[in-house]
């Protein structure tokens, strides 16, 4: 059974003439690292938000663990799915530890368990707990904040992680480090990941399979190698050509 299944999903926003997500069907198996690639406005973020009920589809359905999520309480569903966004959205008035354990606090975990969990996660994302746990978000760099964002998303040990351009606002060098570290973390955790990005290199590097989207439609959903070998249409082909021409630039400079 696929862990996530999109079944003819459509979403339309009031102020727009076309569908933001246009009849998307796809199945994602447990443990896959799926990247969703497309330029801004292609519907990739909308598809992600349809997965944790930040939006509800106008047509079609989304199944998580075989269950139609329209019948699941949105708050309970969101606690089962980790969620990381580009601007991180840490809570500025809380320490790093409280940011990570905010949902466990609401679920009345005992203090010791929460402290241990926070330290464990900080270590996992590469931040020394003794140094960072009592700091406030503004005392951290952008890259460090996103590490905390990841720790917060992992606190309830969700099976699925939804990530919306998590490294999009981070400088190139830090981004490369974070990508590599995140791939290592993921090997240990074995989560199912949906990772939205507009960066073709990031999408092909991280994804075991890549969803290519344009104007709300899912154009191709395959492994990076297969997409490069057999692009589904002219849009996918031009996307690959654009990436290639960039590469040529670097080759020529050398």
């Amino acid at each position: 059974m696929p862990i996530i299944q999109y079944d003819n999903v459509c979403k339309k926003f009031d102020n727009s003439g076309r569908l933001a997500v246009d009849h998307v069907s796809a199945q994602i198996e447990k443990g896959e690292f799926i990247t969703i690639l497309g330029s801004s406005g292609c519907g990739k973020t909308t598809l992600l938000k349809l997965t944790n009920r930040l939006y509800d589809p106008d047509e079609g359905k989304v199944l998580v663990d075989g269950e139609n999520i329209a019948n699941v309480d949105p708050v309970a569903l969101r606690r089962r799915l980790g969620y990381v966004i580009q601007q991180v959205g840490l809570f500025p008035h809380m320490t790093i530890r409280d940011n990570i354990t905010v949902i466990p606090q609401l679920m009345k975990w005992d203090k010791k368990r929460m402290d241990e969990r926070a330290d464990e996660l900080l270590t996992l994302v590469g931040l020394a707990p003794s140094e960072y746990r009592d700091r406030y978000p503004h005392q951290l760099s952008g890259g460090q904040q996103q590490r905390v964002g990841l720790a917060r998303a992992l606190v309830l040990d969700p099976e699925i992680l939804l990530m919306d351009e998590p490294f999009g606002a981070i400088d190139a060098i830090t981004r490369l480090n974070l990508q590599n570290e995140f791939m290592k973390i993921q090997e240990g955790l074995g989560k199912t990941i949906l990772f939205v990005t507009h960066d073709i290199n990031e999408a092909f590097k991280l994804g075991s399979r890549v969803m290519v989207m344009n104007e709300g439609k899912l154009l191709q959903f395959d492994t990076p190698a297969e997409i490069v070998k057999n692009p589904a249409d002219s849009f996918v082909r031009s996307l690959i050509e654009a990436a290639r021409s960039q590469e040529e630039f670097w080759e020529n400079v050398r």
């Binding site: 606690r79 959205g89 500025p92 905010v102 949902i103 964002g149």
Partner: protein
């Protein structure tokens, strides 16, 4: 002035305590009502606009007129005064509360929703702490405006420092007029300064 206070301490202290009492009672009731209305307003933009429009309309009615309007319903005295003062406060409190809460870090609020907080949890754990300055500013404005408008409440027998002013004016008793104006103006200025200091520390 000092002489007058020495000779008739009760004539100054009495209205002063009445005035403070009027302000305190009004504040407690106003805050209770405003908190309730704010929760309602946070649920939908429409309710919020409606409430803000109603109270801005009420706020634009001159206080003397509003006191007069209430006399046939709740009569002369403190009750009418507290009702009018509370009505005025709703505009100041509600406007500051709702804008502060709505404008609280939208990214943090979006993240809070995405990780599984209920709307009420987002309000109490994220929005209110982040909007504390705006909330406090609303309370400060309400207190200062109540101190001022409460002097007019003397015109409907609600007591307070306005008594000194009105009586002093009628009998041309200069010390009385001075005590009334110095105390009411002083209270407003002092409270504003102190509360503003607290606000800046937040």
């Amino acid at each position: 002035m000092i002489e007058y206070l020495k000779r008739h301490p009760e004539k100054v202290i009495g209205p002063l305590t009445e005035h403070i009492w009027l302000v305190l009672v009004t504040l407690v009731i106003s805050l209770a009502i405003a908190s309730f209305l704010t929760v309602l307003a946070m649920r939908s933009e429409k309710v919020s606009d409606l409430l803000n429009n109603i109270f801005s309309l009420v706020y634009s009615v001159p206080s003397l007129a509003l006191f007069a309007l209430l006399i046939p319903i709740t009569g002369l005295g403190r009750t009418s005064a507290v009702i009018v003062l509370t009505l005025y406060n709703q505009y100041l409190l509600l406007r500051n509360f709702t804008t502060g809460l709505r404008e609280a870090d939208p990214v943090a609020c979006e993240a809070a929703k995405g990780i599984g907080m209920t709307d009420m949890q987002i309000l109490t754990r994220i929005r209110i702490p982040l909007a504390r300055k705006a909330i406090f500013a609303g309370i400060r404005l309400a207190i200062v405006s109540t101190v001022g408008i409460a002097t007019i409440a003397a015109s409907i027998n609600a007591g307070g420092l306005g008594i000194l002013l009105f009586e002093g004016l009628r009998t041309m008793n200069i010390p009385k007029i001075l005590w009334g104006s110095v105390l009411s103006a002083g209270m407003a200025v002092l409270l504003n300064a102190v509360l503003k200091m607290v606000e800046e520390k937040m």
